[in-house]
């Protein structure tokens, strides 16, 4: 019961510390745009598609979008004031015939973000679309909904001739024009925090679950050896359940979010 209480209150406590003292406990991310482009193009190459070329105007558009999300405090493809992603792309001076956008937040590495996009059919469609031949990325650290996070904006485009303007409505996003003196180059977000909040909580969770499972296993062995009869729940049930939680922590929980 104390452990349950500890974890519950600990979650709130760490959330507050992370929000108010991001330099101590925060999102530890190591994401470079070069790596994002490389990984994206590796995925395209696997499908026999030509690589996307980095376009500075699309990078500006992506940065404007990221700025706008932080300034207006939203996590969506369209801004609260109704701007679509195409607004930012046009604002950056990119005359597209095709355009698209993927968003991600809360990831610690470029690999995780690209993997997440590839696991989602809609985002994967953008990454592997033959309609796009250029791409721009923005990776920006800031505060969204009161919590520190790392945003990745991926803007796709094609300025070539096409039968019609075909915008990928699934991936629409928006930004508002904000001061963007620094948006032209966003090389990367690197680790800038003392403790990575995700790795800290993940490790504590793993330790707690391991201790519980080990205790339950030892209990089974002792009870069996000493032939003790008692009316309690089945330890094996609990080991299965806690084992599931352990697997989820190892593979699924805390992987960031994409839209």
């Amino acid at each position: 019961m104390f452990v349950v209480l500890f974890l519950f209150l600990g979650g709130f406590f760490l959330s507050i510390v992370r929000t108010n003292y991001p330099s101590i406990l925060g999102v530890a991310a190591d994401i470079s745009i070069e790596r994002l482009i490389m990984l994206t193009n590796i995925e395209r190459q696997k499908q026999g598609l030509p690589p996307l070329i980095e376009n500075s105007q699309l990078s500006i558009a992506a940065s404007l979008k990221a700025n706008d999300m932080f300034v207006q405090n939203y996590w969506a493809h369209n801004s609260p004031d109704g701007k679509t992603p195409w607004y930012f792309i046009r604002e950056a001076g990119y005359n597209y015939t095709y355009a698209g956008e993927n968003l991600a937040k809360g990831f610690e590495t470029a690999e995780e973000a690209v993997k997440a996009w590839m696991a989602s059919p809609k985002h994967r469609t953008n990454v592997l679309s033959e309609n796009f031949n250029e791409v721009g990325f923005a990776v920006k650290k800031g505060r969204l909904n009161g919590e520190e996070t790392v945003l990745i904006v991926e803007a796709f485009g094609n300025q070539g001739t096409a039968p019609s303007i075909a915008v990928n409505r699934e991936r629409q996003e928006v930004f508002s024009v904000s001061d963007n003196e620094e948006t032209a180059s966003f090389p990367s977000v690197s680790k800038q925090t003392l403790i990575g909040s995700l790795s800290l909580t993940s490790n504590i969770s793993k330790i707690i679950l391991s201790v519980f499972m080990l205790t339950l296993i030892l209990d089974i062995l002792v009870v069996k050896r000493k032939k003790i009869i008692r009316f309690v729940g089945h330890n094996l049930d609990h080991i299965f359940f806690l084992g599931l939680m352990f697997i989820l922590i190892m593979g699924a929980l805390g992987k960031g979010v994409i839209i």
């Binding site: 979650g11 939680m245 697997i247």
Partner: protein
């Protein structure tokens, strides 16, 4: 297989179905943390219900056992909450 053995196999098929559901849905929503939290809550809830029913059918259900399953289920939920709230949201 004895009747007792068949009964236990049935129980554990049920448990594995619940845990499999949790595993599948949580991995399926691995990039939507709030959905993950929801499915973990659901899995823990079904686990508690399963545990209580298991002991009820076996006629050895006590308040202590009910509390035990609730606490283990709560531990699973709070571990996920701790990780996601403390580390991500």
């Amino acid at each position: 297989m004895s009747t007792e053995g068949k009964k236990h196999t049935g129980y554990y098929i049920g448990l594995l179905a619940i845990l499999g559901f949790g595993l599948f849905m949580t991995f399926g929503f691995s990039y939507g943390a709030r959905w993950q939290m929801f499915f973990i809550f659901l899995t823990a809830f079904f686990y508690i219900i399963w545990g209580i029913l298991h002991h009820l059918i076996d006629h050895d259900l006590t308040l202590k056992i009910v509390i035990e399953y609730i606490l283990i289920g709560s531990l699973g939920i709070t571990v996920a909450f701790f990780l996601l709230k403390g580390g991500l949201f």
